[in-house]
């Protein structure tokens, strides 16, 4: 338990004795924390925290301090002729009787004779009550505190004291620090009087909403730029479906070549074939596959048009190059075009 107590005078220091009760109403812990923390930077006060530990009475003990200890009550309840255990138990309750009996026996205030509890003294000094009162008043009793603790009559209480002093920049009226510059400040000219609160530069800035480019496409762009800067022109490659003719035959990949296997090429169910192919060029391609030409020995096999008409998903962009070369060859003049 922590209790917060404000001292009336900002300059005096607390003592071990119970401090002067504050005239102001008690303030909540958190609020006090805030006040202390916010005034610290402004150096209006130099707080030091002092932690003191004190023993306080439990509620049970408070009852004894006020009304006397149980053992005294017990003895007082025993008539001169004595009382039976049972009767006393009934009056006080089992638990209380037990505790009181033990304490009274310890002080030698009672004795037992054949099941009867008898007084041994006429008057009892309620030392317990006195002790408790002394502790309540703030007195330190190191040697007896153990007994009290055993009987669960006291608990340790930690009290944190803040000693507040006037700091070098003490002012009666608190100045508010500005956090931001606003339009009003500028308009009114107040900005001249502004004092800023310190920024925490180690804090992160506000996360902003941003968009992203795909990293692979950035790489693609870099590669495209290399070619563009050398004077290359981009080919139109936005055609994924291609015929075997342009993808393989026009590039002289023989028709039984493994790359044309269904393992390595995606052939199509729909659209399955390309029937529109440049016939004259196709004838030349066929010739070279079968028997050579243009300086080549050829492959020496029977070239089939059916195979060339099969559609597939383009396996290499060179298929586009093949189309481009054919197109360029149709030009009147073959020359670099700048």
């Amino acid at each position: 338990r922590r209790t917060w107590r404000a001292r009336s005078s900002p300059t005096s220091t607390p003592t071990a004795r119970s401090p002067t009760r504050a005239p102001s109403p008690p303030i909540k812990r958190l609020r006090a924390f805030h006040i202390i923390e916010s005034t610290e930077p402004c150096l209006l006060s130099c707080p030091q925290d002092i932690t003191r530990e004190a023993w306080v009475l439990t509620d049970e003990a408070k009852g004894y301090a006020a009304g006397g200890s149980r053992e005294v009550h017990l003895v007082a309840a025993i008539p001169p002729e004595g009382a039976s255990r049972a009767a006393l138990k009934e009056e006080f309750g089992d638990v209380v009787f037990d505790i009181a009996r033990k304490a009274a026996a310890k002080n030698k205030w009672i004795r037992f004779e054949r099941g009867i509890v008898l007084r041994t003294v006429e008057d009892t000094t309620d030392e317990m009550q006195e002790l408790l009162k002394r502790v309540e008043n703030g007195e330190v009793v190191p040697d007896l505190i153990k007994e009290l603790k055993r009987r669960k009559l006291v608990t340790k209480e930690k009290v944190i004291w803040y000693s507040l002093k006037k700091g070098p920049e003490f002012v009666v009226k608190r100045k508010t620090l500005a956090t931001d510059v606003t339009r009003e400040h500028l308009k009114s000219g107040d900005w001249k009087d502004l004092e800023f609160k310190d920024y925490n530069y180690e804090a992160q800035g506000q996360p902003i909403a941003i968009g992203y480019s795909q990293p692979l496409l950035e790489v693609r762009e870099a590669i495209q730029n290399i070619f563009l800067e050398m004077g290359f022109s981009e080919m139109p490659t936005n055609m994924f479906v291609e015929s075997s003719f342009w993808n393989f035959d026009a590039l002289f990949q023989p028709q039984q070549h493994p790359a044309r296997d269904s393992h390595d090429t995606f052939f199509l169910k729909a659209p399955a074939t390309t029937t529109q192919l440049p016939d004259d060029y196709l004838e030349k391609v066929k010739q070279v596959h079968q028997s050579g030409g243009y300086g080549s020995k050829g492959y020496g096999y029977d070239w089939k048009r059916d195979e060339a008409e099969k559609n597939l998903l383009r396996t290499h962009t060179t298929a586009v190059s093949a189309r481009m070369l054919y197109k360029l060859a149709q030009e009147e003049h073959f020359a670099p075009n700048s």
Partner: protein
């Protein structure tokens, strides 16, 4: 709106535009090895390191050997041991005892069209010639009078199933175990590569001394063929043999080549001993052993050119073990129409090429003598040409180099022998101005704009499942829309996407835990059937955006559309005052969707709050608004 692009320069080497570079020389196609390989993998030859160095005549450090491979144009892919291979195959732990020895094995990747590099003999020989320690061998046909040649008679029925056969004999060979294994391995490699898993060509090798010529190549109904196949002890009838091999891991994949034919190909000797049932299995009778001295090789085929290449490769590789080194005994093949041919045809292919046609395309200047010595390093016998017009080289291409088809192949080999890294870099001699495709330039502008609006760009797959493309979007397939793959790998690749909607929704689902609002977009192509194009389909460039939050964000998406409309509004793009027209499509909530139309009424896009059913199917718990626009229409 695809405009014709401006032409770009070709390096002016003076030569006219030639047809595209013949493929296959150094950028090889994927090979069909039995072990699964990644796409575009080159065939790998496994050779014992020490055997290889012995054959090369010197020992190399691994670095030295790698450098030699690199210069020659092959690659040392892996170094392992037989033990390690078996361990890996059986998934054994490191320290567990495994079979196989510790002989270090080099796995070397070679170009897929270099059949002469598929065995240690060929590899070592090529490297010896390349480093200059040996000259290119000249293969000879043994001079045997025509009448004494072994004969192979071809019956007419073979044309129904497997018309061609070529043969050769290797005399006086000595097969130590390693050579024998090499011999078998080469047949395997050839079967996988050029033979296209025995469909085009099948090789059969036999102990000639167990047989009696002349031989006959026939095609008979399976019930009439009986023999003891290799590794078996009892006789099988051919049709029963097919069933027998159905459970054989290695042979079952070849059965389909002949099993449904009314006649099966079969080779007999004059005693009606079956040599082989191509392309399935040889007969046990003529099986080659380590004691075999004379080898009979037959290659049956559906492609004669390839049969010759295969036969030539076999004899070229192994005739070095014959009694008369590099000499091959010929066989006469008598066709059913009476015509005859003598195999193997080991003739060289003669080419005459001008010096400039060889060094010009490379970009180096060498004289004829230098070029000749470089060609000789690559097993291409070169000489000065007798032509007097301009410097000219005559080249005799040996049967081992069936990959040389054109003068460009000679140029390539000269470049390799010269060393690619030694070729000087140069700049094009003429200047051109580059340019972008208008649609792509426009797409990039749109992308930048949408990113500025705070959207994250995504890049999604072009292929998708049929379900995602239709059902999951509450759309129906009328069969006239989507391009369909005939051989999809998985259901994920069944169709080409018709819209970007499923792509963005799927992306959203996989990133559903991102902080809100989630704003993603993509500019990409979708494909539709299109009868106006030669191929029957066309691409369409689209912009699509998706907004997801605890509220639908419909106004947000509208704001984005307003922004797009504003920036493309130009004299020729006509949007009226209002360009939203209510719609009623099943993929969106009713009364929460509209079309985007131009002033002539043409629809260029659509947007709406995604229907709860669609969200449920995609597994998205929060409301979303989606828009898709055809940006080609805005170009």
């Amino acid at each position: 709106c695809l405009s014709k692009p401006p032409l770009s320069a070709f390096t002016s080497s003076g030569s006219p535009a030639v047809l595209a570079r013949l493929p296959g020389s150094r950028v090889p196609p994927p090979a069909n090895n039995t072990a699964p390989q990644p796409p575009l993998a080159m065939p790998t030859v496994s050779v014992g390191r020490d055997r290889l160095f012995a054959a090369l005549g010197r020992v190399y450090t691994q670095d030295e050997f790698e450098a030699l491979c690199f210069d020659f144009g092959i690659e040392l892919d892996d170094v392992t041991t037989e033990k390690a291979i078996i361990r890996k195959e059986k998934h054994l732990e490191e320290d567990v005892e495994a079979d196989g020895d510790d002989e270090v094995i080099y796995k070397i990747e070679v170009a897929a069209n270099r059949y002469d590099l598929l065995c240690l003999e060929g590899l070592a020989r090529s490297l010896r010639i390349f480093t200059g320690s040996e000259a290119t061998p000249i293969f000879k046909i043994a001079s045997i009078p025509r009448g004494s040649m072994l004969q192979m008679h071809v019956r007419p029925q073979t044309s129904q199933i497997r018309p061609y056969v070529v043969c050769a004999v290797l005399r006086g060979v000595t097969f130590a175990e390693v050579r024998y294994n090499s011999f078998i391995d080469l047949q395997d490699k050839l079967h996988q590569n050029i033979c296209r898993k025995r469909t085009l060509v099948a090789i059969g090798t036999h102990d000639l001394d167990t047989l009696q010529g002349p031989f006959s190549y026939e095609a008979l109904p399976p019930q009439e063929i009986n023999f003891i196949p290799l590794k078996q002890e009892q006789t099988f009838r051919a049709d029963a043999l097919m069933d027998f091999y159905r459970s054989d891991m290695k042979l079952k994949k070849f059965l389909h080549i002949i099993e449904n034919s009314p006649v099966y190909p079969v080779i007999y000797d004059s005693n009606r001993t079956v040599l082989s049932l191509p392309p399935i299995i040889n007969g046990a009778h003529s099986a080659i052993t380590l004691k075999t001295r004379n080898v009979f090789i037959e290659c049956t085929a559906t492609d004669l050119t390839k049969a010759n290449i295969v036969l030539n490769t076999m004899v070229a590789m192994f005739s070095e073990y014959c009694e008369n080194k590099f000499e091959v005994e010929p066989v006469e093949v008598v066709s059913h129409d009476g015509s005859t041919a003598i195999y193997p045809d080991l003739s060289c292919y003669k080419m005459e090429v001008s010096l400039s046609d060889i060094v010009g395309p490379i970009g180096i200047s060498l004289d004829e003598t230098q070029v000749i010595s470089l060609l000789n390093k690559m097993q291409l016998q070169a000489d000065l040409c007798s032509s007097n017009r301009e410097p000219c080289i005559s080249v005799s291409v040996p049967p081992t180099r069936s990959d040389v088809l054109h003068a460009r192949d000679l140029a390539e080999d000269v470049a390799i022998a010269y060393g690619y890294n030694n070729v000087p870099k140069s700049k094009p001699k003429s200047m051109t101005i580059g340019g972008r495709q208008p649609l792509n330039r426009f797409s990039d502008k749109i992308r930048a704009e949408v990113a500025r609006a705070g959207y994250m760009e995504v890049l999604t797959f072009v292929l998708t499942s049929h379900e995602e493309n239709f059902d999951m979007l509450n759309r129906t397939d009328d069969g006239n829309k989507a391009v369909i793959i005939a051989n999809p790998r998985t259901s994920e690749f069944e169709v080409v996407r018709s819209s970007l909607m499923s792509c963005l929704l799927k992306t959203l689902k996989h990133n559903i835990d991102h902080p809100r609002p989630i704003k993603i977009f993509e500019v990409g192509d979708v494909v539709s059937l299109d009868t106006s194009r030669d191929v029957g389909a066309s691409n369409n460039r689209r912009l699509a955006a998706l907004y997801c939050n605890s509220n639908s964000g419909f106004e947000e998406i509208m704001g984005l559309v307003d922004r797009i409309v504003k920036i493309v509004r130009a004299p020729h793009i006509n949007f009226g005052q209002t360009y939203y027209v209510p719609s009623s499509e099943p993929e969106f909530f009713t009364k929460r969707q509209c079309k985007i139309v131009m002033s002539d009424g043409k629809q260029v896009g659509y947007l709406g709050i995604v229907h709860a059913e669609v969200l449920r199917k995609f597994g998205i718990p929060d409301p979303c608004t989606f828009v898709e626009i055809d940006i080609e229409a805005l170009l």
